[in-house]
Amino acid sequence: MVNHVSLSETFNKDEERVNWHDETLWWVRQKRDKAVWQIPEWEELRDMASQIKMNALSNLHDYLLQFEKNALANGMVVHWAADADEHNDIVYDILAKNKVERIVKSKSMLTEECHLNHFLAKKGIDVIDTDLGERIVQLAEEAPSHIVLPCIHKKKEEIGELFHRFLNTPEGNADPQFLTAAARIHLREKFMTRRVAITGVNFAIAETGEFVICTNEGNADMGAHLSDIHIACMGIEKLIPQREHLSVFLRLLARSATGQPVTTYSSHFVRPLPGQELHIVLVDNGRTRQLGRPDFRNSLKCIRCGACMNTCPVYRRSGGHSYHNAIAGPIGAILAPNLDMKEYADLPFASTLCGSCSNVCPVKIDIHQQLYKWRQVLTKEGHTPAAKTAAMKVMAGTLSRPAVYRFAGKAGRWFMRNIPWLTNNRFNPWYKQRDMPAPPKESFGDWYRKNKR
C-alpha cells in the first residue's frame, strides 16, 4: 500500500539525498529566522494576522457576497464552484467557448488540488506552467513537492538533464543561471502566443473586489497582462476584509516563506484591461465542510507560505511526495483528511507532534494540536488498521492494571535478559537500526518497595 510510511522509507534509501534535502530546507528555515528577527513586533503581527483571518472566516458568507458585488462592479466575471469538478468544468467552458486549446498557467495550489492540468490534458488542452519550478516538475511529469518551492526535491544536475531533453540545452550543463535563461526564452514564446492565462490568488479583498497575486518571477503578471482572457482561481478562504489588512499579510508571507522582506511582485488586479475578459472562480471544494469542524476550521487561515514544511523535521527527511497530496507537510496533513479521510488517514500520523510547525506559522494555526485531534477522529471513524487497534487494546489493558503492568514489565525484562533474540530480531522495527535499552533486574517500583517502605 502506498502511504507515508512506505514512501518515506523509499526516500530514505538514499541517505545522501535525504541529507541534501534536509539541509536545503533547513537553510530556508534559517533565512526565515534571520528575516523575522529583523521585525521586533513579529509575534504581534502573527497575532493580528490570525485575528483578521478568524474574522474573515467567521463572516465568510457576508464577505464573499461583498467581494462578488464589488468584483462585478469592477467588470470581472464571477463564478462559483462547489467542488473540484465544477471548478474544472467552469475553466474548460470558458476555453471551449473561446475555442482556445493552448494556455499558460502561473502557480496555483488550488488548481493542483483540483487536478486541473490532468483534466484539461484529457480534453486536449495544452497547459504550460510558467512558474519555473512548476515547469520543471511538469516536464518531469511529477507533482510539486512543496507549495512554494515545487521542485525543491530536484538537484540542478537533474534539471540540466530535463532541459537538455526538452529545451535542447547542451548536455551536462547544470549552471542555474544558464538554465534559467533557457527557461526564460522557452517561456517567453508561450507568453507571447497564448491567449488565455490562468493564475492563482493570494488574497482577495472584500472591500474593493480586487485580488492580489504574489510571485517572485513575475510570471503571473506576464501571463495575465499578455492575455485576452485571464482566469483567476481561488479557494474561498483567500478572502480578507479590507485592503489595509494586506499590510499585515504581505509582511508575513515572504518572510515566512523564503526569508525575503516581500515578494518581488505583489500585483493587484482590480479590473480587466481594455478588451480583456477577467474571470474569477470562487471554489469551495470542502472548505465549508472544514469550516463546520470546530477543531479544524482554523486550518483555513493558511496563507500557503510553506514555513511549516521547511521547519518540519519529518518533511525534510521524507520529501514532499511522501504526503501523496497536492499540499504536503504539516499543513497538508491537516487539510487532506477533510478532502478524503480514507485516502489520507496516514498523514496525521506522519509527525512526532514536535510543534515547530505551529510556532513558525504566520497565522498561528495550531497545526500539531490538529494533527493530534485528527488522529482521534480517524481512529473513531475506523480508518486505522485492525492490528493497531488490537495492540492498543492490549496495551491499555496492561497499563490500567498495576499488577498486570508489574508482571508484564518483569516478564518482559526477564525475556530481554535471558532470551535477547526475542526482541533483538529483524521483526522488531526498533531493533533494525537501534539497540534495545539494557533491561535492569529491578524496576524502580521494586527498588522503592525494598528501600523506602
Partner: protein
C-alpha cells in the same frame, strides 16, 4: 511540601537509576516525597496513537494515585504535558483539574517552585543538552528557536550550576530527535534518520554526554549511539544534578 513522585512507565522499567536520582534530588531540596505504588502510565502512548478513548482507565488510575499531593513531579516533560493537557476523569473532575494544575516536570519544578539557585554537584564533562519538544514547546521549559523572544532554558540554567560541566552549543538548538512515541516504530525510517542527525550534531560538537529532561528521547538516541558503538553516553538531567 508533599510531593507525589510520578515515574513514567518506561523509566520505571528500564531506567530505575533516573527515578532514584529524581527522588534523591527532591529529598535533598527538602521535599517529602511519596511514590504511589499503584501507578503505571499517563496514557499518552494510546492517546497520541489516536486511541485517547482507550486511555480513560489510565486517567482514573492516575487521579486515584495522585489526588492527595501539594505537587506532582515527573522526570519527563512529555508525560507531564500529557497529564496537563489531557487528564480527565468524569467521576472526579475536580481532582483531575487540580492535578493538571499541580503537576510539574522536574527541571521546571526545581527552578520555579523550589527556586534552586545553587547545586553542590560536580560533573567535569562536555555535555550536550537535548531540548525535548514536549517540555520545550508544550511546557515552555526553554525558549523556542522559532519565536522572536528572549532566550531562556530552565534545564540549561540548572546544568550551568554544576561545577566543571561544559555546556556545548549545537548546530540546531531544538530540532526534534524523532522519537515521537509510537512514531519511532510506525515510521521507523524517518524516526531513525532524525535520531542519527540529532546524535551527529552532538558528536560533531564533541560532547561526551548527551542529557535532557526526557528519557524517551535519550533512549532513542542511546539506541542509535550503541548501534554505532559510540562511547558517548546519555544521562537524564537528574543523574547529572545528583553527581555530588
Amino acid at each position: 511540601m508533599n510531593v507525589g513522585l510520578f515515574i513514567p512507565c518506561y523509566v520505571d522499567q528500564f531506567y530505575p537509576g533516573v527515578a532514584i536520582a529524581t527522588l534523591q534530588l527532591l529529598e535533598k531540596f527538602g521535599c517529602r516525597v511519596t511514590y504511589p505504588p499503584g501507578q503505571t502510565c499517563c496514557g499518552q502512548p494510546m492517546a497520541n496513537s489516536g486511541y485517547e478513548h482507550l486511555s480513560d482507565s489510565c486517567s482514573t488510575l492516575f487521579v486515584k494515585n495522585f489526588s492527595s499531593f501539594d505537587y506532582i513531579v515527573c522526570p519527563s516533560g512529555s508525560c507531564t504535558l500529557h497529564i496537563k493537557d489531557h487528564l480527565n476523569d468524569d467521576a472526579s473532575a475536580a481532582n483531575a483539574g487540580n492535578i493538571r494544575k499541580r503537576i510539574y516536570e522536574l527541571s521546571e519544578f526545581m527552578t520555579d517552585i523550589l527556586k534552586v539557585e545553587k547545586l553542590s554537584a560536580c560533573f567535569p564533562f562536555k555535555v550536550g543538552l537535548h531540548q525535548s519538544c514536549h517540555g520545550q514547546r508544550g511546557l515552555y521549559i526553554s525558549q523556542m528557536s522559532e519565536l522572536v523572544a528572549e532566550p531562556f532554558s530552565k534545564p540549561g540554567r540548572l546544568l550551568q550550576m554544576v561545577d566543571g560541566l561544559e555546556l556545548v552549543s549545537l548546530g540546531r538548538s531544538d530540532e526534534c530527535c524523532g522519537f515521537g512515541g509510537t512514531f519511532c516504530v510506525a515510521e521507523e525510517a524517518v524516526s531513525v534518520k532524525m535520531g542519527k542527525d540529532r546524535v551527529d550534531d552532538h558528536l560533531k560538537n564533541k560532547v561526551e554526554v548527551i542529557t535532557g529532561a526526557d528519557m524517551s528521547c535519550l533512549m532513542h538516541m542511546e539506541g542509535i549511539l550503541k548501534r554505532q558503538k559510540s562511547t558517548v553516553r546519555v544521562m537524564h538531567i537528574a543523574e547529572i544534578l545528583t553527581q555530588w
